[in-house]
Each structure stands twice: as C-alpha cells, then as structure tokens.
C-alpha cells in the first residue's frame, strides 16, 4: 500500500520534471540556435552551411560599421535610460510610499498605464506629441520613451523593498541627530540597495532589448541594435549579428554571476559580523 503510493509519487515527480524540461527547451532552443548560427559558414543566415569562427574575427575587425554604431547607440541610450529611471524611480518609490498628497492615487494609476497599455499605443501617442510640439526625433526622444516604461517598473520594485523596518531605521537615524539628507544617503539608500540594483538591471535589459519605442521615436539616420536587426531581417541576418548578440548574452550572464557572488559574500560577512556581535554581547553579559 505504502509502496504503491511512493511509486506513484515518484512517477508523478518524473513526469512533471519531464514537462518542465520540455517548457525550458522551448525557451532555450531559440537561444542555442542563435548561438549555433554565429558559427555559420554562410554570408547570410538561411540554412546551416558548415562551421566557422570567422564571424567573430570579422566582428572585431570592425568592418560592419552599422552594427557597431547601432550597438554603441543602444548602449548609450540604455545607460541614460537606466540612470534617469533609477533616480526618478527610487525617489518616486520612496515618496509615493511615505507621503500623502492630492493626486497620489492618480499618479499611482498612471504608473500602471505604461505597464499594461500596448507599447505601440504609448509610442505612437508620444510620437504625435513630439511631432506636434516640434521636438526633433533622435536619441533624446528614445531615452524619454524608454524611461516612460522603465520608471513604473523601478517604482514598483522599490516600493516592494520598503517596509516598516525602513521607517523605524529612518526615525532612529533622525533621533540620533542625522538630518534628512544624511538619513537619505546613509540609511534609506543602503537599506533598499538590492531593490535599486534590480531596478537598474531591469531598466537596462528593457531598454537594450526594446524595439517598438526605439523604432517609432527614432530619427531616420540612426537606429538602435534591435531596430537594425528588424530592418536587416528583410534581407537576411548576417552571422556577425549572431556573434554580437551571443557575446552580449555571455556578458549579461557573467555580470549576473558576479553580482550574485558578491551578494552571497556580503550576506556571509553580515552573518559573521552578527555572530561576532552576539558573542561579544554574551561575553559582556557572562
């Protein structure tokens, strides 16, 4: 009886693991194919023509100017959008959590709009405003567009990090004689640092991968990497683009590993310090 139940449980565990593996395959197959075709011995990627590493060499001989220019353009936009979104988002997250003011409900509602409304609608409505007011399209308008959907995510992330503890810590800091600005930099910011980092990471990834805003709000002269890929797709993607996007994923994964490694180290150090402090207290008591 018991054996039968155990057997059934095992069988269920096996099939559910298989199911999860199939779903993961759906996510990883395109990534692996993308990497595979960065080694394709063909001018354009339609079918597999054999293995070569020449595309990585060609990539770093900087022959494909458009590709590198669009990457630099994307990176500058992503960094600018990340910095602005994190600053506005962190301040906003704290402010909207801490203060009551007229219109706060409305702002909270507005923050949901870029998250739920189709991006094309947001992009088009911003395009109409920019054209009507007479703002030249280009890097500035793309950054504004990206910030508009990154800020809400940053605010949500930061708000999630602020809890009752932060309030207590802030009050303690002020009681101990720190002014508002000191409290903000020395207490509030460090206590929500993990939230700030994940907001920054999220903003960066959203911006660097964005197509719709970058396409609608761009000038005709310069395009971001995803917009370049969208236009090159009509004539066939060249394997050096695969090589570049492959390297980009590797950099992202490496960066993430380093970040989580540092976090683990910090947690270990904090645990050790905590243990030491407790020991000291007990010696004092003893």
């Amino acid at each position: 009886m018991k054996n039968k139940k155990l057997l059934r449980q095992r069988r269920n565990a096996f099939w559910s693991a298989m199911y999860a593996a199939v779903i993961y395959a759906l996510f990883y197959i395109p990534v692996l194919v993308m990497i595979q075709f960065s080694f394709n011995d063909a001018k354009r990627n339609y079918s597999w023509e054999g293995f070569t590493t020449q595309w990585y060499g060609k990539l770093f001989s900087f022959g494909n100017h458009d590709l590198w220019e669009s990457l630099v353009y994307s990176l500058v936009i992503a960094v600018a959008a990340t910095v602005i979104s994190v600053v506005v988002g962190v301040l906003g997250g704290i402010g909207l959590k801490k203060f009551e003011f007229r219109g706060k409900k409305f702002i909270n509602l507005m923050l949901y709009v870029p998250i739920v409304v189709p991006e094309i609608v947001l992009a088009v409505s911003m395009l109409i405003i920019f054209m009507t007011v007479g703002i030249r399209l280009g890097m500035g308008t793309i950054v504004i567009g990206h910030c508009t959907f990154c800020i809400p995510y940053a605010v949500v992330t930061i708000k999630g990090r602020i809890s009752g503890d932060n309030e207590t810590l802030q009050e303690a800091s002020m009681d101990l004689g720190a002014n508002r600005v000191q409290t903000f930099w020395r207490v509030t910011i460090p206590s929500i640092m993990p939230g700030i980092l994940s907001a920054a990471f999220l903003s960066f990834t959203l911006s660097i991968d964005d197509v719709i805003m970058s396409n609608m709000l761009a000038s005709a002269r310069q395009s971001t990497l995803p917009v370049l890929i969208l236009s090159v797709n009509r004539t066939g993607i060249t394997p050096d683009i695969n090589a570049l996007t492959t390297l980009m994923v590797l950099v992202m994964v490496a960066g993430m590993l380093v970040m989580s490694g540092l976090q683990r180290l910090r947690r270990k150090r904090e645990a050790r310090e905590m243990a030491e402090a407790e020991q000291r207290i007990s010696t004092l008591r003893g």
Binding site: S16, A17, Y19, I23, L26, F27, Y28, P30, V31, M34, F37, Y46, S47, V87, L91, G92, I94, G95, L96, K98, F99, E100, F101, R102, G103, I107, N108, M110, Y112, V113, P114, V116, V117, P118, E119, I120, V121, V124, S125, M126, L127, I128, I129, C147, T148, I151, V156, T157, T205, D209, V211, M216, P226, I229, L230, N233, T245, M248, V249, V253
Partner: protein, 288 residues
C-alpha cells in the same frame, strides 16, 4: 499637487514624489489624452492632421478590411493567451512547489533566455522552420510529410513566436501567486475529504486567480499590440492591429486612423483592467 497633509515642510515630498509625478503626467497622461483627441480629427491632405472634428476614422474601423484584421488579431491574442495559461500554469506550479532555493534557481533559468535579443530568438524559429530547415528535414526523414511544409510567413509560425515570447511573462505572475498559496490550506482541504481535483478547483484555482488574471493581462494585451513578432515571422505578409497602427505613422500617414486604432486598444485594455479590479486589488497585480 504635491501638498503634503501630515508634514509641514513640503520640500521632501516635492523632491521625492515630484519628478515621477511630472514625468507621468507629461509623458503618459498628456499623450494619451492627445491621441484620443487626434482620433476624432480629420486626416490632412499630405498626411498629418487637420483639426476639424469627424468620426471618419472610427467609421473606417468598421470597414471590412480593417474589421477583419481587428477580429483576427483578437483571435490570435486569445489563442496565445489560452495556450500560455495552459502551458504556463502547470509549469509555474512545478516551480512553486520546489524549495525556495531550487525555485529561485529555476526562475533564474527562466530569465536567462530573456536576456538574449528577442528578435534574434524569433529569427532562430525562422531558421528552424525554413523550407529546407531542420524541422522539415526531420518530418521528411520520419515520413510524416512527403514534401517540405511551408511554415515561414504563416500565421502558425507567428503564433509559435507569440507563445514562446509571452510564456515567461505568463509564468512569472502565476508563479508568485501559487508560491504564496499556503500548504496548510491544501492540507486542510484534503483532510476535510476533498479529492485532489476538488481541492484544485475549489481552493488552488480561486486563490491563485489574481496571478492568472495578471498573466492574462500581461500576455493578451501585448500580443494584441505587437508588430515586431509579425514582422519577423510573418515577413510583412501577416498583418495584425499593431502593424496597421505602425503603418499609419510610416508610409501611409493617416494619423487619425492610427489614433483610432490605438484608442480601440486602450479601450480593450481598460476593460480588462476593470474586470481585474472586480476580482482583485489593482495594487496586488503582479507585474514583474
């Protein structure tokens, strides 16, 4: 706008909540109101807008060609959402039942592919499903088909692109609501004599409904508004609402029509959010 009630000094409130408020009003509220306004204006002779009120754009939407596109986009978005829920829920459940440590690793494993350029991931499906590509070769070798199937530039391949693109965003909110589900509830239900199926129907499903609804919003609405997936996999031959809107601001230059289509998408979004608010608190919506 930023007058605090509790504190006397308004400066900190203005400094902190001010920038986000100004940004949202300037770049969300104003453009949204303006696009609604534009949708009721006339099309300029050389593109652009003539500021004479008319309902022409909305009448055009009821036109057979446009109406067919709208209907098809809705159908495809419904199918995408349904498949994402059906595939995603068991998957989210599987992750949520693991220990916190394993679950966070599995979620990380889900996020990594999202750091790859999304267009290149779509392009990879295209490469796999080429007429002389590996999928066709496999089908021929297995004798399932006699001649290569034309997958590319079809609605089926666009659908595959949509599903694989949005599935992670359906899984994440469902995962966080299943994860919050207390084991004690399920045990209580079982102890009270409910079969696993009944427990699922009467306890698990209702309690995880906010997550399911968030998943619906996060897949249905973007699927309805996309043009990049149709562009990449449909080769310009498959047109959805998103493509039509985009074209009005590119080659065709009929801004009011593009605006009217955008307003239609806004209304659909508002309707879904309204329905959501009947079942759960908007603030609890899982968006990440």
């Amino acid at each position: 706008m930023t007058a605090p009630k509790k504190r006397r000094n308004p400066l900190p409130a203005i400094a902190q909540a001010g920038p986000v408020s100004v940004w949202m009003v300037l770049f969300v509220t104003v453009p949204m109101l303006f696009i609604i306004y534009i949708s009721f204006m006339s099309r300029g002779t050389f593109g652009g807008v003539e500021y004479t009120p008319t309902l022409t754009s909305y009448e055009t939407l009821a036109d057979v060609t446009y109406f067919a596109v709208i209907l098809k986009s809705l159908q495809v978005a419904v199918v995408t959402t349904a498949v994402c829920l059906l595939l995603g829920y068991p998957f989210a459940y599987y992750i949520a039942r693991k220990s916190a440590d394993v679950a966070s690793r599995l979620i990380m494993l889900l996020m990594i592919p999202l750091w790859t350029n999304s267009l290149m991931r779509l392009n990879a499906w295209m490469l796999l499903f080429q007429t002389n590509g590996p999928v066709n070769k496999a089908l021929l070798a297995l004798g399932i088909v006699q001649s290569p199937v034309k997958f590319i530039y079809t609605d089926a391949l666009v659908l595959l692109g949509l599903i694989t693109n949005f599935l992670p965003f359906a899984v994440l909110p469902m995962y966080s609501s299943i994860e919050k589900l207390q084991k004690a509830m399920l045990e209580a239900s079982a102890d009270l004599g409910a079969t696993p199926a009944t427990t699922f129907r009467k306890v698990t499903l209702p309690l995880t409904f906010p997550g399911i609804f968030s998943a619906i919003i996060l897949t249905f609405i973007p699927a309805l508004g996309t043009y990049t997936i149709t562009d990449m996999l449909g080769g310009g031959k498959v047109l959805y609402i998103g493509n039509i809107i985009k074209n009005q601001f590119g080659t065709i230059r009929n801004w009011p029509l593009g605006a009217a289509l955008s307003v239609l998408l806004l209304l659909i979004t508002a309707l879904l959010i309204f329905l959501y608010s009947r079942f759960a608190k908007i603030e609890d919506m899982e968006v990440l």
